[in-house]
């Protein structure tokens, strides 16, 4: 087995664009679920809107990169409003149902053959030089990063630079928001919205603000994915990505500022590491073919990771940063 390559792959992944994307998506869910108690199962939808907002803004409507980003932000806010107005007055589980459906509607909408002239259909928006060219032109790096075991291409290096700046900003904003009286109302809503209402707070307005802010984090994740892959592909926004983001959030610890980032590093790091180990073991013939064949590595790594996650949730249900005492509180 080539341990050098395995370590190199894993270390590069730890700071890579996937960690950035999962961090941002989970940071949005942290605002929604961790702090406000909104069960948003449609984060992939927000991610898709961010990705397609920028990609379609540039490729389809010929906007500049800056305008396309604004277009994506406006699109995201519109989605949050559309989603929130009918559902935020309802009980939490209704929001969960509606959001998971909305995520799928959006994915199928972007995927549909009828609209492929604008959205690229099932192939996604790619190959169009306009889409990432402006972003690439802004790249301040002269070449790829190749330090020790870490290797990143020039393009990815630029994507993750922007990405980590966004993550840092997101952490700062989350921290500022959640230590303020605004954050206190938000956490109060998570605990019991009727009580907060009885104290004269407009719960609906706060939930809407939370939905928009968390949605913007999700959209930022989508933009990073689109830029890194140089394509906006509908299959990158399937429902499982919402659940991966939830996994990341719970892994790090919900309602903790650094939870999503640490969760994303562990989740992506473990996936890449196990994948590399399994592939190495397969090529060395260490795993007999009646156990698994080479095509099954992708699935088996998820089985193994799932097992580890289950153990983690059993023995450390509060996540890495969580407070077990808090979890055990009688939430009457």
């Amino acid at each position: 087995m080539d341990w050098g390559s395995i370590i190199s792959q894993t270390l590069s992944a730890l700071i890579g664009w996937e960690v950035v994307a999962y961090s941002l998506a989970a940071m949005g869910l942290n605002i929604h679920f961790g702090y406000t108690g909104l069960l948003n199962f449609g984060q992939a939808g927000f991610m898709a809107v961010g990705a397609y907002g920028v990609a379609m803004g540039i490729s389809t409507f010929g906007l500049s990169l800056g305008m396309a980003v604004l277009f994506a932000i406006a699109f995201t806010i519109l989605l949050a409003l559309l989603l929130g107005i009918p559902t935020l007055r309802l009980r939490a589980d209704y929001l969960a149902i509606v959001t998971i459906a909305t995520g799928e509607i959006l994915r199928l909408f972007f995927r549909s053959a009828t609209l492929s002239e604008w959205t690229g259909g099932s192939d996604g928006l790619q190959g169009n030089p306009l889409f990432t060219q402006q972003f690439k032109n802004l790249n301040p790096y002269g070449g790829p990063l190749d330090v020790g075991p870490i290797f990143l291409t020039q393009h990815i290096l630029w994507v993750i630079t922007v990405g980590w700046v966004l993550v840092a900003l997101g952490i700062l904003v989350t921290w500022l928001l959640m230590r303020s009286p605004w954050g206190r109302v938000i956490k109060g809503i998570r605990e019991d919205e009727e009580a907060v209402r009885s104290l004269g707070k407009n719960v609906f307005a706060y939930k809407m603000q939370s939905l928009i802010i968390g949605g913007l984090f999700g959209a930022a994740a989508g933009v990073i994915i689109a830029l890194a892959a140089s394509s906006a592909n509908p299959d990158n926004f399937a429902p499982q990505y919402t659940f991966f983001a939830y996994t990341v959030l719970l892994l790090g610890g919900a309602a903790r500022v650094f939870g999503p980032v640490v969760g994303a590093v562990i989740f992506v790091g473990a996936l890449v590491f196990v994948d590399a180990i399994l592939k190495g073991a397969m090529s060395d013939g260490l795993i007999p073919t009646w156990v698994m064949d080479g095509d099954q590595v992708g699935q088996v790594r998820f089985i193994l990771i799932g097992l580890v996650l289950m153990l983690l949730m059993i023995f450390r249900p509060q996540g890495i940063f969580g407070d077990k005492k808090e979890l055990q509180l009688d939430a009457r």
């Binding site: 500022l176 605004w182 009885s198």
Partner: protein, 316 residues
């Protein structure tokens, strides 16, 4: 603070006397008018399917008094609370608070007008500290606006004064020891105190307490009684739902009795509890008509015993 206590005791007498004196001129009939009502409700009807849960023709609440709302289970007391505070919408009905129409307002707007409620099942915000629970109650906080929240210098001074007020209330309600504990770790009685203190943070003119004694041990019950009386001393109007007749007798200046959604009797506690219509409300009219006078007396005794038992059951 012994001096303080003394001052409140004498004052307590005055306010209580004032409330009783004011109510002595009030009519002792269902929907009777009061000399200085803070809340006036008319034709409030709420149906659930075929059931008329609340059907109140007219109700007035005297300012600065403690009014108890009693009645058997399912009489519509809590529904009535929910309607008046905007947490439920009536089929018909209007009511005015301080002369302002508030029957169409959302619950948070009702609270901002100065009418704050608590809940039958305590709603302490479990994963927040006791102090944070209280701070949340304060009205008009600049830092509660999204844009201002990320600029701490805009709200830091206000936060300071809010915290001071919260600390005063914690002191008053004997919650200083648990100031920084999670509210979810408090006992049932402490949660009731916390909820009351939190409601006071809003600075209400009128507080509506839904079964403030439910699930509270007898010792804390006594201190809760005093806190409720204390609210009147600060000029607040109190309405509370309660099953414990001893508490009702001890604390209230006026009692409103509901049965099957309607107000069946009103008056000072001693008088109301002796009324036939009230006993009927609890036990059903003509449950079995007595044949002789001796039987009637025996039945009356049995009824009183049962009432006492019921109130005891409410305690547990």
């Amino acid at each position: 603070m012994p001096a303080d206590n003394e001052a409140t005791t004498t004052q307590q007498g005055e306010r209580a006397k004032a409330a009783v004196a004011a109510l002595s001129t009030a009519e002792q009939v269902p929907g009777g008018s009061k000399p200085d009502p803070i809340l006036v409700a008319d034709n409030v009807v709420r149906t659930f399917g075929g059931l008329k849960a609340v059907d109140v023709d007219h109700l007035e609440i005297q300012r600065g008094s403690i009014t108890a709302l009693i009645g058997p289970n399912g009489a519509g007391k809590t529904t009535c609370f929910n309607l008046l505070t905007g947490f439920d919408k009536p089929d018909t009905g209007t009511w005015q608070f301080n002369g302002d129409e508030i029957s169409k307002l959302a619950p948070h707007r009702v609270a901002r007008r100065g009418m704050v409620r608590t809940f039958q099942l305590t709603k302490s915000l479990a994963r927040m500290t006791v102090l944070e629970n209280l701070r949340l109650g304060a009205k008009d906080q600049k830092g509660e606006h999204l844009w201002a929240s990320v600029l701490p210098f805009l709200w830091r001074d206000q936060e300071q004064s809010v915290t001071e007020r919260a600390d005063e209330l914690l002191e008053h309600f004997n919650l200083v020891r648990v100031r920084d504990d999670y509210a979810g770790s408090l006992s049932g009685g402490q949660r009731k105190l916390l909820e009351m203190a939190r409601a006071l943070m809003v600075g209400p003119e009128m507080v509506m307490l839904d079964e403030p004694m439910a699930g509270v041990n007898p010792r804390l019950r006594q201190s809760l009684n005093e806190h409720i009386r204390g609210l009147r001393e600060t000029g607040m109007t109190v309405v509370f739902v309660e099953h414990d007749m001893d508490v009702v007798r001890d604390v209230s200046d006026w009692v409103v009795v509901m049965a099957q959604g309607q107000i069946v009797a009103e008056g000072p506690p001693q008088e109301v509890m002796a009324q036939q219509s009230v006993i009927d409300a609890y036990l059903g009219a003509h449950h079995d008509a007595p044949l002789t006078e001796a039987e009637e007396e025996a039945q009356l005794e049995a009824v009183q015993e049962q009432l006492a038992q019921e109130s005891e059951e409410g305690t547990q």
